[in-house]
């Protein structure tokens, strides 16, 4: 009897743990229409599928996009303020076997190497679920052409400076 009770208790415990473990899975893929070699100013889209692989519903689901820069020496999280207005998606409940598909558009603001991931959590879950990283590289795009700016930026003050030196009063001799 005691053994049965013990086995039942362990079984219930394991079952509860299984119930509250992450039943979610997230797939993340770049959109097919994304440019092959994106540069600053381009738009990229990532497509995610969040699936409930568990036996029960996932209540209060929230999924969000995260972006990090991974250039050597410049590793840092990126504030998505200017990159994207679409930062999260929510669902009241995700039934077992169902999936939520979401597109994540972003405008490329700064050159560098980046990794993007989707993370998800629920109201009652105990673990965070993340997708695999999608990596991309943004090429530099000069908007202001230095070959125009540099001659003007240095040339005009230089010309005025020469005029200033030329017009400075030269000391004469003699007194009144």
């Amino acid at each position: 009897m005691k053994l049965s009770a013990f086995v039942l208790a362990v079984g219930l415990l394991l079952g509860q743990h299984a119930l509250h473990a992450a039943p979610l899975s997230i797939e993340l893929q770049p959109a097919a229409a994304n440019p092959a070699a994106p540069q600053m100013g381009d738009n990229l889209t990532f497509h995610s599928v969040i699936r409930n692989d568990g036996a029960g519903p996932v209540d209060g689901l929230i999924a969000w996009i995260s972006l990090v820069q991974v250039d050597k020496g410049k590793e840092q999280p990126v504030d998505l303020e200017d990159w994207s207005a679409h930062k999260a998606v929510t669902a009241a409940a995700l039934l077992p076997g169902k999936a939520i598909e979401t597109d994540w558009p972003m405008r490329l603001i700064k050159a560098g190497h980046y990794r993007v991931a989707i993370s998800a959590a629920s109201r009652t879950g105990t673990h965070l679920t993340t997708s695999a990283f999608a990596d991309f590289t943004v090429r530099q795009k000069p908007v202001v052409e230095s070959r125009r700016v540099l001659p003007v930026a240095f040339g005009i003050p230089l010309l005025l400076g020469v005029a200033l030196i030329w017009r400075r009063p030269r000391r004469g001799t003699g007194s009144g």
């Binding site: 700064k110 908007v143 125009r148 700016v149 005009i156």
Partner: protein, 250 residues
């Protein structure tokens, strides 16, 4: 040659031929160059593409032009008074109106030179961006009454205050107050007080017109309301300068 023309030519010479005037122009050019170089080195600004850059440069040109106009205006009266040059001019056989018009002409020439200096900068940063030509035009159209207004304001301050230092301090504070909506950001501009101030602020009128034409691609002809505010500013400051100059005795 009329007294007005003679004096305006003299004021222009003060700017273009004197070490002091050339130093002012050089300082303005260095400030424009610093901003232009900042644009070259900044890799994030391209988010909003060339239109933003041309808009920013037009705003800087108007701001610096207003500062130059203020300094030239103050120097035309208070500076000359302190150097002892004003009394001989007042005692010359020229009417007060002619002398005043000549000095106002000097402020106009200062802005013309400054605007001409700014065109290469606008061209350089404009690159392949949108609305560069319209941007240059609207900068001239709105910038002129704003800058001249600050010049006339400076002249009036030079007449009414005892020293050029007091006039300069007062003028710079006024300029900062006029530019404050731009420094404080869009949120505060949308508050009730901010909106009221914006409605009468000539600086806001100019910058809003630049935004409309350069970034939003509106026509210059559609900027009538902004032009009206700028026109009111120049008329008020002209009256201020005229009333002050009539009372100058030394």
């Amino acid at each position: 040659m009329s007294a007005t023309t003679l004096i305006a030519r003299k004021e222009a010479g003060e700017l273009l031929l004197s070490p002091r005037g050339l130093a002012w122009l050089t300082a303005v050019a260095v400030a424009l160059s610093a901003f232009a170089l900042l644009l070259v080195s900044n890799t994030e600004l391209s988010l909003l593409d060339n239109a933003q850059v041309v808009y920013d440069m037009a705003g800087i040109v108007t701001g610096l032009g207003s500062l130059l106009g203020l300094v030239v205006g103050i120097d035309a009266v208070a500076g000359e008074r302190e150097r002892g040059c004003l009394v001989p001019l007042l005692l010359a056989p020229a009417s007060r109106s002619a002398i005043l018009l000549g000095k106002l002409g000097g402020v106009a020439i200062a802005w013309a030179v400054m605007y001409a200096l700014s065109l290469p900068y606008l061209w350089a940063v404009g690159s392949t961006g949108q609305n560069m030509a319209d941007g240059m035009l609207v900068c001239g159209l709105l910038g002129t009454p704003i800058v001249l207004g600050f010049g006339f304001f400076g002249m009036g301050l030079g007449c009414w205050t005892r020293s050029s230092r007091t006039a300069l301090l007062t003028g710079i504070v006024a300029l900062l107050v006029a530019a404050s909506p731009l420094l404080l950001g869009p949120g505060l501009r949308q508050s009730a007080v901010g909106a009221m101030f914006d409605a009468v602020n000539p600086f806001s009128a100019a910058v809003d017109a630049y935004d409309a034409v350069i970034i939003d691609s509106q026509t210059i002809a559609a900027q009538g309301a902004h032009i009206l505010v700028a026109a009111a500013w120049i008329v008020l400051t002209l009256v201020f300068a005229r009333s002050g100059f009539a009372k100058v005795t030394r």
